[in-house]
């Protein structure tokens, strides 16, 4: 009974252990980034206007209000809503400043020069931070002035919608490339060339846009063809690696190491060592746009890629073949699995997905450079391993890789938000990988051990 329970516990751990880790990490960083949030925008403006008019009703004389906020859209909404509400309730607004600190200074000096007075400054937290207002008595207009800002509330930085979008956006490239890497690793291979292929694809796509599709004036079709060519080139590079690995039976490690150098060198040659930035503004649609329910386009693409990867690996014969090749190559061969074709396929897919990753990076950064993708192969492999895929081959789950990628993204983002310096971040990521592989070993040993004991227990009367 006790033993059965423990077997069940280990089984649960091996299926959902990493998901649990992800949830714990999210909970921890939510707690660690629990901070005061200062609202801005139209709602905050209206709320502040209400507070101000409550206060001015108590005053006998007229209250003259100065509104100060920055010149970004949400601050402009804040100021105009605040102004409209105040005027409606009969409070007089001396002036509204939407701008930089220097604009606020000019406004104060102008009011002072005209002999005007401000009784109340209404601003948001960002403007309140300006040193300009450290000493209000420095200006003749504000000698008597009081200040008010929208009420703040507490909420974790980590759980802000903007940040969750960041986390997803930051891991998109690694997560997409990791799909191909998961397949490669399940067959018992490895692909070290993905980092360089990311750079190569970014360079080819942007260079084609610059030279052939019309640079800044390029149209959508031209850009799509350029990007498809970049992805195609990377798929061809993957195909090459796959063919060499299968036909010449050379370890994937050394073949893809060679491909990594070739791709990186070709990238530098094609880009002439420079970054290529002559691309139209609309090129950032993929990397920075968010058309569907405010979800970034790249994240949508990533989810589609994972759905496709899941279908291939779990529901199609091809996926079964991939597991079979990695699980036991001889047995797979004898049972009629097209060994070579499967291997060539996984390396080609891995190359193509790296190419897609390169296009996304180029779009996010609105330029292509041969220096992109450095060390990405290691992060990608880390995501796969943390996601529970065994480097020995034959075992692993596509969705596990997605969880692995998110664990890495959450840790990186969380450490940035809590202000852990970059050296420490490396140490933590390294420990995470070591922890993940040890955990994998541990649960497998534990499971085997318990299953054996349970079997032995049943045999004994």
């Amino acid at each position: 009974m006790n033993l059965d329970l423990r077997i069940r516990f280990y089984r649960f751990l091996s299926s959902y252990g990493m998901l649990l880790v992800l949830v714990l990490l999210c909970a921890y960083f939510s707690w660690a980034t629990w901070t005061e949030q200062n609202p801005t925008g139209a709602d905050a403006g209206r709320q502040l206007a209400k507070a101000i008019s409550r206060r001015t009703q108590r005053e006998t004389r007229e209250v003259r209000v100065l509104i100060v906020a920055r010149d970004i859209p949400e601050d402009i909404h804040f100021a105009s809503a605040l102004r409209a509400e105040l005027l409606k309730s009969g409070v007089s607004v001396v002036e509204t400043v939407n701008g930089q600190p220097v604009d606020a200074r000019r406004a104060l000096e102008k009011i002072g020069a005209a002999g005007g007075q401000v009784d109340l400054i209404a601003w948001n937290a960002a403007a309140a931070e300006w040193n300009l207002f450290a000493d209000l008595s420095a200006f003749s207009a504000t000698r008597q002035a009081k200040v008010m800002q929208p009420a703040s509330y507490r909420w974790p930085d980590f759980l802000k919608a903007d940040n969750l979008r960041n986390v997803a956006n930051q891991i998109v490239v690694i997560a997409i490339v990791a799909i191909g890497m998961t397949m490669v690793i399940i067959t018992g291979g490895i692909d070290l060339s993905v980092g360089s292929l990311i750079a190569l694809s970014a360079v080819i796509s942007t260079r084609l846009i610059r030279d052939l599709a019309g640079a800044e004036q390029a149209g959508a079709v031209g850009m799509a063809i350029a990007c498809a060519t970049g992805i195609g080139a990377c798929a061809a590079a993957g195909l090459c690696s796959g063919v060499i690995v299968t036909l010449l039976d050379i370890p994937a490690f050394i073949v893809t190491l060679g491909m990594m150098l070739v791709a990186s060198g070709v990238g530098f040659i094609l880009a002439e060592g420079q970054s290529i930035y002559q691309v139209p503004d609309s090129f950032v649609w993929l990397g920075r746009g968010a058309d569907l329910f405010n979800i970034p386009n790249a994240v949508v693409l990533m989810l589609i890629a994972y759905a496709a990867g899941y279908l291939v690996m779990e529901r199609m014969a091809l996926g079964r073949y991939v597991y079979a090749v990695g699980g036991n190559r001889q047995a797979a061969r004898f049972s009629g699995v097209p060994l070579k074709r499967v291997l060539v396929f996984v390396y080609t897919i891995s190359g193509a997905l790296a190419g897609l990753g390169g296009v996304i990076i180029a779009s996010q950064l609105k330029s292509g450079a041969p220096t992109y993708g450095v060390m990405y192969e290691l992060y990608v492999i880390a995501a796969v391993v943390v996601g529970g895929t065994s480097l020995a081959g034959g075992q692993g789950k596509i969705l596990g890789t997605l969880i692995g990628a998110f664990i890495i993204a959450v840790i990186q983002n969380g450490m940035n938000l809590t202000g852990v310096e970059s050296y420490t971040q490396k140490v933590v990521l390294g420990l995470l990988i070591l922890g993940a592989v040890s955990l994998d070993r541990f649960r497998r040993y534990g499971l085997e051990l318990l299953v054996q004991r349970s079997a032995a227990g049943h045999r004994k009367p």
């Binding site: 921890y28 660690a32 200062n38 920055r70 010149d71 970004i72 949400e74 601050d75 930089q100 600190p101 220097v102 604009d103 606020a104 200074r105 000019r106 960002a126 931070e129 300006w130 040193n131 300009l132 450290a134 930085d157 802000k160 903007d162 940040n163 960041n166 956006n169 930051q170 490239v173 060592g273 970054s275 930035y277 920075r288 990076i361 996010q364 950064l365 609105k366 330029s367 450079a369 220096t371 992109y372 450095v374 060390m375 983002n413 450490m415 940035n416 938000l417 809590t418 202000g419 852990v420 310096e421 970059s422 420490t424 420990l431 922890g435 040890s438 541990f442 040993y445 534990g446 051990l449």
Partner: protein, 331 residues
């Protein structure tokens, strides 16, 4: 095997606990550091700083000085490093935006590609400043760029070269033209040499300009080739300290230290030591501490509503053997 699994089972929560605890510990320590030791004004906000790399002492010093200076005004500086990866730097900027820092300071990993991140910060209402490396993307709103005056530094290097060669000789430049700041250095150098050649006391010819990559090993090889091609060479202008040190090693190996004088650039500790030892004649030195301090001053001016210049150049100063002997850092 059983004991292994058991031990692991016991240790895992402990290890996890230590990891989480160390995370918190760091944080508190960091806050105490800024709050406790220095005479701090009321805490007003934070400044996000992402540098090119923290492995170069130059950027470390910019970061340290900024943290110190900003603390005096009640600001905490959050230091991160892009480590030459512009995609990583972009993510760091996004994280700064989420944390709602008051200002962002960057030394871009890529002068062009960083443009989109800067735009994003500006749209979020966070003013962006650059230090040492400028952003060259068009239409990007950087409030102010604070950097070394490389052009006049190059001129100082030329003066040092004329002085080292007593006005006569053949000179080579160990170049690294991929970098904007180096182009300015060589431009200043060449202009002064050309101008001084008009006077009767000076006759210096620039016989070669070869790439040294700004790094020791490549400059070492380049210098070896150089002294083969120009046996009558009497001076080398190396565009930074690593190239100067690489050149110096090559000259030592060839036994030409007495014949060929080197003028470097930077004033890194290793370069200063080489000046003291007589391996490098002189350096126009940069002042990362002043770059850091001026950046903070410009940010404070901006928040105080003062007009700030688009560009602020920090002059270099010539550093010779006599300066090195007086330098307390080298004692």
């Amino acid at each position: 095997m059983r004991s292994f699994a058991h031990v692991f089972c016991r240790l895992l929560p402990v290890a996890l606990g230590i990891f989480l605890w160390s995370g918190c510990g760091r944080n508190e320590e960091a806050e105490q550091r800024t709050a406790g030791r220095l005479p701090v004004a009321a805490r007003r906000g934070s400044i996000g700083l992402s540098v090119l790399t923290l492995t170069n002492p130059f950027f470390k010093e910019i970061a340290d000085t900024m943290s110190r200076e900003a603390a005096k005004h009640g600001y905490e500086v959050l230091v991160v490093s892009g480590e030459f990866d512009v995609a990583k730097q972009q993510n760091q900027v996004k994280d700064f935006i989420v944390r709602r820092v008051s200002a962002i300071v960057l030394t871009p990993c890529d002068s062009k590609a960083i443009g989109s991140a800067i735009q994003e910060a500006s749209t979020a209402g966070i003013p962006v400043f650059t230090a040492d490396i400028a952003c060259l993307a068009p239409g990007v709103g950087v409030i102010c760029h604070v950097a070394t005056d490389n052009y006049s530094g190059g001129k100082q290097a030329a003066q040092a070269m004329i002085e080292a060669l007593r006005g006569r000789g053949n000179v080579a430049i160990l170049d690294h033209p991929e970098v904007e700041s180096v182009l300015l250095r060589t431009k200043g150098f060449e202009e002064v040499i050309a101008a001084e050649n008009q006077t009767p006391d000076v006759a210096i010819r620039i016989v070669a300009k070869i790439p040294g990559g700004g790094v020791k090993d490549k400059s070492f090889k380049a210098t070896e080739d150089l002294i083969q091609a120009h046996p009558d060479l009497s001076g080398i202008f190396a565009i930074n300290d690593p190239s100067a040190l690489g050149a110096s090693a090559a000259l030592e190996k060839a036994g030409k230290r007495a014949q060929i004088k080197i003028v470097g650039f930077d004033g890194q500790l290793e370069g200063k030591q080489a000046i003291k030892a007589g391996k490098i004649h002189a350096d126009p030195i940069q002042f990362p501490d002043r770059i850091g301090a001026e950046t903070v001053r410009v940010i404070m001016d901006h928040f105080a509503g003062k007009e700030v210049p688009k560009e602020l150049l920090i002059p270099t100063s010539l550093y010779r053997k006599a300066d090195a002997e007086k330098d307390p850092m080298l004692k």
